[in-house]
């Protein structure tokens, strides 16, 4: 009895989700390709890949928050931005002689560094800030909302307002944030010249390593009891309460992890892109982040990575050649994925998913079959 119980249950170990053997060959090959990428693709393509991998960190966070926790966040851009600004502030300061101010402060009429900029002179504070600032804000915000048992669509809409408010705030506080322009023109980070190939490759590998590490860690987390409870809360939050669990901290933890990953993603993205600006944090970019995950599969970490790469590569390729078409395509992809393929690309991969897809396609063409 006990033996049969343990088979195929998520409770049987940290790596229960991963079936060893043949199926490990594929991920290993993918990672190996990733490691060798600097020699396989052009410098520009490597930079693209690096950015998109950074974004994939955020996407994996959304799998936890949205897929597993059922909490749709339309405000991930905020945390992405916080991480990006934290590292960017440091790089702005690091490039200055003592007592100098960043250029935009000067021409905004500021004559002293705002107090909250000062700690970011320290690289350690900046790195901690990348994870702690988004994490703390997310924890506080989500706790305030979840503890009052506001969730679902309401939460999604409030996070959307958060994205709007954050972007507006950044823009309107130009003297201390760089406003609409954001922060740009970075030379060095932690004393390393960002322009050298070694720095570029090193940052790329760091990003790749983080993607792999976060993938494994989240996988273990989703297989843990925490993951089970998170899914249980998604299913019936009140029921869980009457089994003696307080759903709030579980959701807050998921949301905070999602935010920390977004912050990390934002910081790495900023390093790769050389700029962080409000255009990355507002309502529209935040929704696009959800698209990556929807396309890839909201319950699949690998799907989230694939979705992020696929959507962004398509955007890079299609939007210049067919700018009008791109928006139609993006809209259409979203509609089709959500209606026909709720499991995303990942859902297509599994056999059941493929069968379901066929069926849904049939329903779409022939009509209702409920």
């Amino acid at each position: 009895m006990d033996m049969s119980l343990r088979k195929n249950t998520p409770l049987s170990g940290p790596l229960a989700g991963i079936t060893f053997g043949r199926s490990l060959a594929v991920p290993l090959a993918v990672v190996a390709l990733g490691v060798l990428a600097p020699w396989l693709v052009s410098a520009y393509e490597l930079n693209l890949l690096a950015r998109f991998l950074a974004m994939a960190l955020l996407a994996m966070g959304l799998v936890l928050v949205w897929g597993q926790g059922g909490v749709l966040s339309l405000g991930q851009g905020v945390f992405f931005g916080l991480g990006g600004y934290a590292i960017a502030m440091h790089m702005k300061l690091a490039a200055l002689a003592d007592g100098d101010l960043p250029d935009f402060m000067v021409w905004s009429g500021l004559d002293a560094l705002p107090w909250w900029w000062v700690p970011f002179k320290s690289p350690l504070v900046a790195i901690l800030g990348v994870v702690l600032v988004p994490g703390a804000l997310a924890a506080l915000f989500s706790w305030a909302v979840f503890r009052r048992r506001v969730g679902g669509v309401y939460f999604a809409l409030i996070t959307q307002a958060l994205a709007l408010a954050f972007a507006t705030l950044l823009i309107s506080q130009q003297p201390s944030t760089g406003g609409f322009n954001g922060l740009t023109d970075f030379q060095t980070v932690m004393g390393v010249d960002l322009g050298t190939p070694a720095a570029v490759h090193g940052l790329y590998w760091l990003t790749l390593a983080l993607v792999v590490g976060v993938f494994v860690a989240l996988r273990a987390l989703m297989a843990s009891r925490y993951g089970l409870l998170l899914r249980a809360i998604r299913d019936g939050e009140n029921r869980i309460r009457f089994l003696g669990y307080d759903p709030t901290p579980f959701k807050v933890v998921a949301f905070t992890i999602g935010a920390v990953l977004a912050g990390l993603a934002g910081a790495l993205f900023t390093l790769h892109a050389g700029v962080v600006s409000p255009a990355l944090v507002g309502v529209v970019p935040s929704i696009e982040m959800v698209i990556w995950v929807a396309v890839g599969g909201r319950n699949s970490l690998a799907g989230a990575i694939a979705g992020t790469l696929a959507v962004n590569l398509a955007k890079d390729g299609v939007s210049s050649a067919f700018p009008d078409l791109w928006l139609y395509a993006l809209g259409l992809v979203f509609v089709l994925v959500v209606t026909l393929l709720p499991g995303g690309l990942a859902g297509l991969v599994t056999d059941a998913g493929a069968a379901g897809w066929g069926k849904r396609l049939k329903t779409l063409i022939i009509g209702e079959a409920k």
Binding site: S42, A43, Y44, E45, N47, L48, R51, D103, F104, V106, W107, S108, G109, T168, I171, S172, Q174, G179, F180, N181, G182, T184, D185, F186, G195, F269, A273, G274, V275, V276, S277, A279, L280, P285, K315, D316, S319, S320, P323, W326, L327
Partner: protein, 373 residues
């Protein structure tokens, strides 16, 4: 090969597409014309068009793509200062050259950028000079909430103070903002003589409509705009903004054969009614200036082209006689126009001759310099 590639990098999607597509059109028009007349240094010019997506990070990404992977010798593009700021490090690092066509807030002087759009002292300050000459004493500053309006107003305030005139108020609304009820209430309370507006795009429509509804049409309370061109005026319905003022370095209604020829060529390609605006002309002029510089240098090398460009003599362009100064900004004339019912501007004032560009206003940024000569 007998072609040379240049990049055209504007937002084709997103909020800025509306403006930037027209600049792209003008740039492509110039490139086509150049090819039709034999190219540059015997080579056909091939335009590689990329979409900046109204996102500075994408501008940086695409600039890298163009220069590093695309093999372009120079890039024409950008509109928002945010996009320029994001591209600047890319051009510096890759030692390439960007031609930037839009009026901006100054405070920047990179050897890798050719700034053809107006510096503050070529657009904002001439407008103030005109207003002072007209006898306006009390100024209300309204802008969209981003860098250009805030910096422009910073400069204006210093100069208004220095002239012992009055700043009646200063208000910002978020980009794309549509509700001006509170701002208008504050205007009504402050009773200024004139409004200086750095509002961008759609917000202008809301602003003028709600001003008119509140009993303050332009006829009653004049408005000087720094971001309304012919295209915006037509779209807003010229009767709405009729009588209001704008300051630019080019108006479609300018005299001169070069302008007639440019407008005709543009309308032949993009429709008889197509409006032509200041940034479009700057984009168009940039391409010709690049050609002239390349030919003078006898090379496509960005460093040599830059050196040649600032050494060129006055070019006769649609916007009159212009040339690049030593600080890589354009020497040009400032005009004030008043909107007529057809959406065209009647030119009512112009600066005495051309104005040398000055990125750093001496009142606001004493000590910083990037001289024109």
């Amino acid at each position: 090969a007998d072609t040379v590639k240049v990049g055209v990098l504007q937002s084709l999607t997103g909020t800025m597409a509306i403006s930037e597509v027209t600049v792209k059109n003008a740039e492509i028009l110039a490139i086509d014309e150049i090819n039709a007349s034999g190219g540059v240094l015997g080579k056909k010019v091939e335009a590689v068009v990329e979409d900046g997506g109204s996102d500075p990070a994408i501008f940086a990404q695409k600039a890298t793509k163009l220069v590093q992977d695309g093999g372009v010798v120079t890039v024409f593009g950008g509109w928002t200062s945010a996009s320029r700021k994001a591209m600047l490090p890319v051009f510096q690092k890759l030692k390439s050259l960007l031609w930037y066509p839009v009026q901006f807030e100054g405070n920047e002087c990179s050897p890798n950028i050719m700034y053809s759009g107006a510096q503050p002292n070529q657009q904002i300050l001439p407008a103030l000079q005109w207003a002072v000459e007209k006898g306006y004493k009390s100024y209300f500053l309204i802008g969209s909430d981003y860098v250009f309006p805030r910096t422009a107003n910073l400069i204006l305030k210093k100069h208004i103070d220095a002239d012992k005139l009055k700043v009646a108020g200063e208000e910002y609304v978020p980009l794309g903002g549509t509700d001006f009820s509170a701002v208008i209430a504050k205007v009504q309370a402050a009773k200024p003589d004139i409004i200086f507006s750095t509002l961008n795009g759609d917000s202008n429509v809301s602003f003028f409509k709600q001003m008119a509804a509140a009993g303050l049409p332009s006829a009653k309370l004049p408005v000087m705009s720094f971001s309304i061109g012919e295209q915006e005026a037509v779209a807003m319905g010229p009767s709405l903004v009729e009588g209001s003022y704008a300051a630019w370095n080019y108006f479609q209604s300018l005299d001169g054969a070069a302008n007639k020829k440019f407008v005709a060529a543009y309308q032949a390609k993009f429709g008889a009614g197509a409006a032509v605006t200041d940034p479009m002309v700057h984009g168009y002029v940039d391409v010709y200036a690049w050609k002239a510089a390349v030919e003078k240098a006898g090379s496509f090398d960005p460093e040599k082209v830059r050196a040649a460009a600032v050494a060129l003599d006055y070019l006769d362009t649609a916007m009159g006689k212009v040339k690049f100064a030593a600080n890589q900004s354009l020497v040009q004339t400032g005009y004030i126009g008043q909107l007529d019912p057809t959406g065209q501007f009647k030119i009512i004032w112009q600066s005495k001759g051309t104005i040398d560009p000055d990125p750093y206003d001496p009142l606001v940024f004493p000590g910083k310099k990037c001289p024109a000569s």
